[in-house]
Symmetry: C2
Subunit: 556 residues, 2 copies
């Protein structure tokens, strides 16, 4: 039964986040209308040289934007909201979020000059809203940021429970613990499909509680005499609160270092959180306090080059210095791919004589995603007919599907970005595969991740480049020696590279017939092939440099 033949059906289609941890963007469709949930970014790895941010290619929904009734942002993490300002102009629909998230959305849109344009609808915690054929209840869960919302999406063809990012924290410090009775009731009222976070499915335990982290950091601070620095994720307001309380318990003032941290704390205070938060001292004031009286809370727990902690470690912060006897706590996990950068930062801090404490040394961080015990609890509450694992790489989603099957959920389907799953009517199945792709932010351009600019840089990264400029007459005879520009080909200090290429260019031209030589394109191609080969032979690389030949033909 094909997609097109079923107008009265309920569909799920992820464009991002089902195949990677990051850039979540999910779509639901019924009665010909689409609902988007989240619009996030991800960080690029070295396969996309020079690219920091990537996001889903939204071509699919752009073509259908007239039928897109709204976008709901479940919470304010970058992998759920970070692409909004970049992509919204492509699909232009109303945006729904709870108060804390909305404060940060407004800031993002203002920076992009879009604030007046985007229809924003603020939904209270535990509120609900009708968006086209979708009736949506917001249900507060716990996570590592204020106001993480699960969505109960009611349609004529069944109810979807979209978890967003979540965990079960019996003592979450910021926000309320998950209400078991309420969740049980959601299950009692019936759920067709559970769309669920897979991030920590390989953890056989529960994720643990923020209050344990507070106790441990409290204990660490009690033993330290020097300055203490604590790096964490800037959006983790509960962690910042944890740190502030531990500081107060130990007679330390707190100082925030890093813009995004200050912004998140301000947003949390504006939204009514952190009511009992201590006074924040400035970097200048902190400098004048005794060492044992200050706790710096910093951005840069992933070793990011421009974040606060790296700038301090490089000596680039005039007010904040690290010296022997200081302690640096990484109250964070290592995001895969950042090991080398973080290791480098650790070494820099140790060189200064600081003690470095990470989650390997003490329980100073707790994850915001559910381990197997929490997933089991969620399945027991919700009792869905269908489980669709999202928010994971293939291995995480497949693992959750297996876990759900073992738990007795009748239908467990693993999506990929671009798969259209029909949830109802009839048995759930994948009915369409779309190629989706990704967009990369390259300077001011949002380009496909396979764009020439990126592919070219990747080629040069390995093999260097080589540009040869020829000036010839109308017969193709060289009027001057070829000019060689070597971009990244090694010659080990020998200085022969250019000579070798010039020789190859001359030989290439010589090999051509008179009529071939008079043809600009033939001449260029022949010189290119010879020169590239000569470069390969010279550098002994398996692949030659990216070689470009330009020919300027002059009338005699």
């Amino acid at each position: 039964m094909s997609y097109k033949s079923r107008k009265n059906a309920l569909y799920f289609l992820p464009l991002g986040g089902s195949g990677e941890i990051g850039m979540n963007l999910n779509l639901y469709q019924t009665k010909g209308k689409w609902l988007m949930v989240d619009c996030g970014i991800s960080f690029a790895d070295s396969y996309l040289p020079g690219i920091d941010l990537i996001m889903p290619n939204v071509n699919y929904i752009e073509k259908r934007k007239d039928d897109l009734v709204g976008l709901i942002i479940t919470h304010a993490h970058e992998d759920h909201v970070g692409a909004l300002a970049h992509l919204w102009p492509r699909f232009r629909c109303p945006v729904y979020a709870t108060p804390f998230t909305m404060i940060l959305i407004r800031q993002k849109l203002a920076e992009a000059g879009l604030l007046g344009e985007v229809p924003l609808i603020e939904i209270p915690l535990e509120g609900n809203v009708e968006v086209g054929p979708f009736t949506i209840d917001f249900l507060s869960l716990t996570h590592s940021i204020p106001e993480p919302n699960a969505l109960r999406i009611k349609t004529d063809l069944g109810v979807i429970f979209h978890t967003g990012d979540w965990k079960l924290d019996p003592d979450p410090l910021v926000g309320e613990a998950t209400n078991a009775a309420k969740m049980q009731k959601v299950g009692d009222e019936g759920v067709l499909a559970l769309i669920c976070d897979s991030t920590n499915v390989f953890n056989p335990e529960s994720s643990g509680s923020e209050s344990t982290v507070r106790d441990n950091i409290n204990q660490i601070l009690a033993t330290k005499k020097g300055k203490v620095f604590c790096a964490t994720f800037s959006s983790n307001v509960a962690r910042v609160d944890t740190l502030a309380m531990a500081a107060r318990n130990n007679g330390r003032a707190i100082c925030l270092v890093g813009q995004s941290l200050k912004r998140n704390v301000a947003a949390a205070i504006e939204a009514g959180y952190l009511k009992d938060f201590p006074k924040i001292v400035s970097e200048g004031e902190a400098k004048n306090l005794p060492n044992e009286k200050i706790l710096y809370i910093c951005t840069g727990c992933q070793g990011e080059a421009r974040a606060a902690l790296m700038r301090i470690a490089e000596g680039n912060n005039r007010e904040v210095k690290i010296v022997r006897g200081d302690t640096v706590i990484f109250s964070s996990k290592i995001i895969p791919g950042n090991e080398i950068m973080i290791g480098r930062l650790h070494n820099m801090l140790v060189e200064f004589g600081a003690e470095v404490i990470t989650e390997k040394d003490a329980f100073v961080h707790v994850s915001g995603h559910p381990g197997q015990q929490e997933l089991r609890q969620m399945y027991d509450w919700i009792r869905p007919d269908i489980l669709v694992p999202v928010h994971g790489e293939v291995r995480h989603m497949e693992k959750q599907a297996e876990f759900g099957r073992n738990h007795g959920i009748p239908s467990c389907l693993v999506p990929r970005n671009g798969t259209l799953i029909r949830l109802a009517p009839g048995p759930a199945e994948i009915v369409e595969y779309n190629i989706v792709g990704r967009l990369a932010l390259d300077g001011g351009f949002l380009i496909p991740s396979e764009d020439d600019a990126i592919v070219t840089r990747r080629r040069i990264l390995y093999n260097g480049a080589l540009v040869i400029s020829l000036v010839v007459d109308m017969r193709g005879e060289f009027l001057t020696a070829p000019v060689v520009t070597n971009l990244g080909n090694p010659d080990g200090g020998m200085g022969y590279f250019e000579d070798v290429i010039i020789e190859a260019a001359l030989a290439a031209a010589h090999k051509l017939t008179t009529s071939q030589r008079a043809d600009k394109n033939k001449l260029a191609e022949s010189v290119r092939a010879y020169a590239r080969k000569a470069a390969m032979n010279y550098t002994k690389k398996e692949t030659g440099p990216l070689t470009v030949v330009t020919v300027t033909q002059m009338e005699n």
Copy 2:
């Protein structure tokens, strides 16, 4: 007291491995004569684009090669022997090693065409040799390769105990367990300085035993019906033996996939190990066996692009296929920096329907380096006056120094590559700091890691490049339009980039006075600056592309 004033002294100087885990190269000096221990490579990270292998810059010892009496290779891991064929021509000295290591050294030298040239001296296990003023005892320890040797280096000024890579395995499967009485005796006879592996100093426990790995893999194989693949480090002959035994116990034949694995197994058999090794079946034979009758042992546990497992996962091995129901065991750790590549490989395997088992799921790998319990045992045996931690990043070495101090070792000094430490006479101290640097293998050239070729590629990686070729007359007037070669600058499919650059080039020339324009260099520099700025404005990147302007001046 300066270095020069003390001819009759004993010195230690690392050129590699003291500041990174990899590329070990250590030097000892007494009576004006130098002894080298190990000559290894390391793998480059993304900071050196296009580079796979790096190694220490041996400039320091090259200048003193007439006083270099020998090189001892402690064991055959690449981070201890991998640079030998590359660097030996620079210092040319006799090379000493035990039999298994020597087999692999001969292969390496033969491949490099150096076999006849290098004086090779094979030392039996537990043997000894006099090399200049150094008398050296080889003592077998345990590690993750056959024949890991510690060196007791006796000199007139004291005894050094150089551990090499080691662990204590009570049941090592290949080779003998460490002889406690022998080690105790080394300590009784007196050791001035212990030069010791720091790799696993953050592990508070012992590393564990190979026999536990065997038991676990045995159990896993007993439950599997499909084909089983096991990826491990190719030099870990004990692991290969473990796998072979587990296969035999479960009625499975073994098939080796990957050249380096075959080479290491052959070398081990030649050196007298693996005496009870089962028959190895070929890939063609394995294909015809029932699924439950075969265990493939593969290279590629780090997700390396060209290794056996990735080639299988990509469908590029004609004889070996992975299908639903198969199991892939990663009997290895993740080397930091390889997380993304390994994660990608896991996802590919899961896509095929294979079950992936790693050391996170079961104890299927054991480290070859000492945890804190083993370090403590070594300190108790050796009882040195001086501890010099090596084989680590700064944080590992500093941690071991702290650990040694807490254990009561009187003097604990942390070296860096290039620090000259006087071990005797008098209190140990750093007496000289030398800048060492690294060499990178770029195609056929061994170039400094800060060479132009690498720096250029790194710049292009982020910012792209731009080459502008001008053809002008003797007054600097353009004879044709500037020719623009865009290498990696995005233009988002707009196609205006080149026009913008040409316009900038024309404007730049126009701004110059007549005499400035007639000056090739001034013209080029002006066009370069304008064009780079125009590119920055166009792409909205914070840094402009690497911009090169070539000027061809034609006589009228």
